[in-house]
């Protein structure tokens, strides 16, 4: 089938107004929020699960790939088409289908924006816990695909801990429903397995999520330090004390100064690091823990520990954190954010290593991260127009991630592997590990769905791969 024929069929399926194919219309969909790029062949906007299934079947017939896309805020190139395939966007599948207050569940379509769900259920005193900093824009479909986290997922858990059921169009074009309002069902936990699979096993068309009750009391503390080490040591000690804050976020000196200039959150310009600690729970509990946290921070050399007096002050402290990446954007034409994870006890040495990397490669690195779970986000500043800088940036990023792995950590805590880090997967997994994952990939996705992601490319030819599939699907594009 020629691509023109594909376009005609897509238009027949969805209506011409829901298919984009002119180069100027496609440009918007060449990027996500990472540094990667790729032009799709067409962008389509289905409105039902059946249409999504028909799209996947059409892709099979036409031997073109399909790539699901939410808001395109992903940081690993997950929603970029690498081979001029069809990008499926969910802006027309953005309804909250059900709010079940008695069971504390919501059933949503994948295009629902994360924050919109929390807003819609706020009147019941409930919210959707995963809160990526991009929550004003990113979709729940994207959250499920990436198993996204956020500042408050330290205590509440990441997306997979909040999804109890999904409807999916498998890479084979079949529609399936796993789980439901109850995560414990008979059979394998395919819901959990699909969550975080980055759109490489199926396209999620409906999601059942948990809703969480708002806590009675919240305390937001800001500890100010002269050095990053003091802040990092406080994190280690807070964890060891057995306190689980709902959020534990750190900004280094460079970041906090930049953020301060942009948002005037009240971070002292001459400090070396700030630690943002949020505690939630019973009033009594929060007060006790706030006192403990203050003690830990002061013992570790904090200059000062501030506490938000009211919601306005709290919002201001958070504004700095939530807009940090936007602020970093002012420092250099581009920045490249890493997402490595280390055991929490190893944060201080990891920060020292990142400082060395910065010197070694001659690049400025700003650190801002989810300290409570050891999820580092060093942002490497560079100029995309300078090929040498880009090369050094990518090398510096890989260097940091290799270090994280050497400490028993991971190359990604929440942004996903995508097309950005797939070449680094062998740092974590050997050939057999990857082969087993590959086999499980092929069981649901013979190849049209989001190809050349997650796994190191080029994919080696293997015999066993699609043995469990019906013969007509044992094909690789």
């Amino acid at each position: 089938m020629s691509f023109d024929e594909v376009i005609t069929q897509l238009q027949g399926l969805l209506g011409a107004q829901h298919v984009l194919h002119r180069p100027e219309d496609l440009m918007l969909y060449e990027y996500d929020a990472s540094v990667d790029k790729g032009t799709p062949g067409a962008v389509v906007f289905p409105s039902t699960t059946e249409e999504v299934a028909a799209l996947v079947r059409l892709a099979h017939r036409a031997e073109v790939s399909v790539v699901p896309r939410g808001a395109g805020t992903g940081l690993s190139g997950g929603s970029i088409s690498r081979d001029r395939g069809i990008v499926i966007v969910f802006t027309r599948m953005n309804r909250i289908l059900e709010v079940d207050v008695a069971n504390r569940r919501a059933v949503v379509q994948p295009g629902v924006v994360n924050l919109d769900l929390s807003a819609a259920v706020a009147r019941y005193g409930l919210y959707f816990a995963p809160d990526p900093s991009s929550q004003k824009a990113c979709t729940i479909g994207g959250n499920v695909a990436e198993n996204s986290g956020g500042p408050h997922t330290l205590a509440q858990g990441v997306t997979v801990n909040h999804v109890t059921g999904i409807e999916v169009v498998l890479g084979t074009g079949e529609i399936a429903r796993f789980g439901g309002k109850c995560i414990d069902t008979c059979g394998y936990d395919v819901t959990g397995y699909f969550t975080g699979s980055e759109g490489t096993l199926g396209i999620v068309t409906e999601i059942t999520v948990k809703l969480v009750r708002k806590a009675e009391a919240v305390a937001t503390l800001l500890a100010i330090y002269n050095t990053v080490d003091e802040g990092a040591n406080s994190v280690v000690e807070i964890t060891a004390e057995g306190i689980t804050p709902t959020a534990l976020e750190m900004l280094d000196g460079l970041t906090l100064r930049t953020v301060e200039e942009a948002t005037h959150a009240g971070y002292p310009m001459d400090s070396g690091a700030v630690l943002l600690v949020e505690l939630e729970g019973l009033r009594e509990e929060v007060e006790e823990q706030a006192a403990l946290v203050r003690g830990v921070c002061m013992r570790n050399g904090a200059r000062e520990v501030r506490r938000a007096k009211d919601e306005t002050e709290r919002a201001l402290l958070w504004k700095g954190r939530k807009n940090a990446f936007a602020a970093i954007g002012r420092l250099a034409p581009s920045y490249y954010t890493q997402d490595g994870v280390v055991p929490r006890s190893k944060i201080p040495q990891t920060l020292r290593y990142i400082a060395e990397v910065s010197k070694k490669y001659g690049l400025t690195i700003a650190n801002i991260f989810h300290a409570g779970d050891g999820n580092m986000h060093p942002a490497i500043l560079f100029d995309l127009r300078d090929p040498d800088q880009l090369k050094r940036t990518v090398a510096a990023g890989a260097d940091i991630l290799a270090y994280c792995v050497s400490l028993g950590g991971s190359i990604t805590g929440e942004h996903g592997v995508g097309m950005e880090k797939n070449a680094l997967m062998p740092l974590l997994f050997n050939e057999t590990d990857l082969d087993v994952m590959h086999r499980l990939h092929d069981a649901f996705n013979p190849g049209v769905l989001n190809p050349q992601k997650v796994f190191p490319t080029p994919r080696s030819c293997r015999e066993t791969g699609s043995a469990s599939l019906p013969p007509e699907l044992r094909r690789r594009p």
């Binding site: 059979g187 060891a240 009033r283 028993g408 950590g409 994952m437 469990s468």
Partner: protein, 438 residues
């Protein structure tokens, strides 16, 4: 070749891998639904597990993975059982990073050993199962065991952060890692947890630990009816309190420490300072009948975890069911379940997580009046009918002759997808053949 020839050829091959002393005739107590196994092997490394499974895979044998043999009541009667693979020698803590609240253990490690090791550091390993001094970590993962802590920590799927396992065709694979947050690669932990030994043999696993509360207290409230108990649960769930456990205990839940035979009891375990505990008293108010501390408190919670084992010990012919459902269905479902059990000649009892609505139901035969197979079958189908489709009613134990007449798992949905997973990881159907999905 006759059966004897198969066994001796096989024995020689296995001995070559494991040495004489770790290939042995099966002990007579390792019987599953009346099916005896000839041989038992005890590998000590993941590599040995892989070597054994390759042999089984080549010969298309069936292998029964086993830990402490405490949760083998699940599933269909095995059509064949050639080998029991015990994880006894795959034991020990691989690493324990108390500062990071993470631990890695080998699959054959006893739950109690891990629980005790971390308790010394005032931390909690939240995997719970009956007979913790025999049950193993691998078995608890495979059966997705849970206890009262599930209320606050969620099931083991929520805090198992990494896994190593061997596929049915003998490949050693791992997923996840050691750190508490990680999205690299597929989350195969989710597939293996609750797979009842049908997708792979788990050889080791890594977990997030929880800090232990400095002190705890347990508040008991007793009600005449399930309706009142569930109304109380709703009050707790809507209050600002966030207890460690929120447990429902029915009348006749024998063996549960201090349980009154007539009442529906809600037990709330809380942790925190004196001020926090005082707040619980204040919020829960006059509904509270008792407060347990120290030894009494510990006795209650261990008897709650032991409930399924106790009920079976009291009556070998009891039928035990694991039920899961959306929280709002609990009252109507349990009301109907109790009626159905009584109507078919059983004594009904239930213990489990009131708010997550995951419970164990026990149907115990009346003394002196053993129910017929039909009575078991009818009681089960009436209970299934009373429980919502969004959930599960899984038979945990029942007499072997009953098993042949029931679906122990209920009706699984999306069986074709499940089969795809199974065929991918265990192409020759070596692992627990016939015991899981239809």
């Amino acid at each position: 070749m006759n059966d004897q020839g198969v066994v001796s050829g096989l024995e020689a091959e296995l001995t070559g891998i494991l040495g004489n002393e770790h290939v042995m005739p099966c002990q007579s107590n390792l019987v599953i639904d009346g099916i005896h196994t000839q041989l038992c092997v005890e590998p000590a490394t993941a590599q040995e597990v892989a070597d054994v499974l390759r042999v089984a895979n080549d010969r298309k044998l069936t292998v029964i993975p086993a830990g402490g043999f405490t949760h083998q009541g699940y599933g269909n009667v095995p059509p064949r059982a050639d080998l029991v693979l015990r994880t006894t020698r795959l034991s020990g803590i691989v690493y324990y990073d108390a500062g990071d609240l993470t631990i890695g253990v080998r699959a054959g490690t006893r739950l109690a050993d891990v629980q005790n090791a971390v308790a010394e550091h005032r931390q909690v390993f939240a995997v719970e199962a009956a007979r913790a001094s025999r049950a193993t970590v691998g078995g608890a993962l495979a059966t997705a065991s849970h206890g009262p802590r599930k209320h606050s920590t969620g099931g083991v799927r929520e805090f198992c952060v990494g896994l190593e396992f061997v596929t049915g065709d003998g490949q050693i694979a791992k997923a996840g890692g050691r750190v508490v947050k990680n999205v690299a690669g597929y989350d195969l932990m989710k597939l293996l947890i609750g797979s009842h030994g049908t997708l792979g043999i788990i050889t080791s696993a890594n977990f997030r630990l929880m800090p232990a509360a400095r002190q705890t207290a347990t508040f008991m409230a007793e009600f005449r009816t399930i309706g009142e108990a569930v109304a109380f649960r709703e009050r707790v769930v809507k209050s600002p309190l966030s207890p460690i456990s929120l447990e429902l205990i029915s009348p006749f839940a024998e063996g549960v420490s201090g349980q009154s035979p007539k009442a529906w009891t809600v037990a709330i375990k809380a942790g925190g300072s004196d001020a926090v505990l005082a707040r619980y008293r204040g919020e829960l108010g006059e509904d509270l009948s008792r407060e347990l501390r120290d030894a009494n408190e510990a006795a209650l919670w261990s008897s709650v975890v032991e409930f399924p084992a106790t009920m079976l010990q009291l009556n070998q012919r009891a039928m035990l069911l694991d039920v899961h459902m959306p929280a709002a269905s609990l009252e109507p479902a349990l009301t109907e379940a109790e009626k159905a059990a009584t109507a078919h000649g059983f004594i009904f009892s239930a213990v489990g997580r009131a708010a997550v609505a995951s419970l164990t139901l026990a149907l115990s035969p009346l003394p002196g009046d053993p129910p017929s197979v039909t009575q078991y079958v009818n009681a089960l189908s009436a209970i299934r009918a009373a429980c919502p489709a969004d959930g599960a009613v899984i038979v945990r134990n029942c007499p072997s002759e009953v098993k042949k007449h029931i679906e122990p798992w209920g009706s699984a949905r999306e069986v074709e997808s499940m089969r795809r997973v199974k065929r991918t990881l265990d192409p020759n159907d070596v692992l627990n053949r016939g015991r899981f999905l239809p």
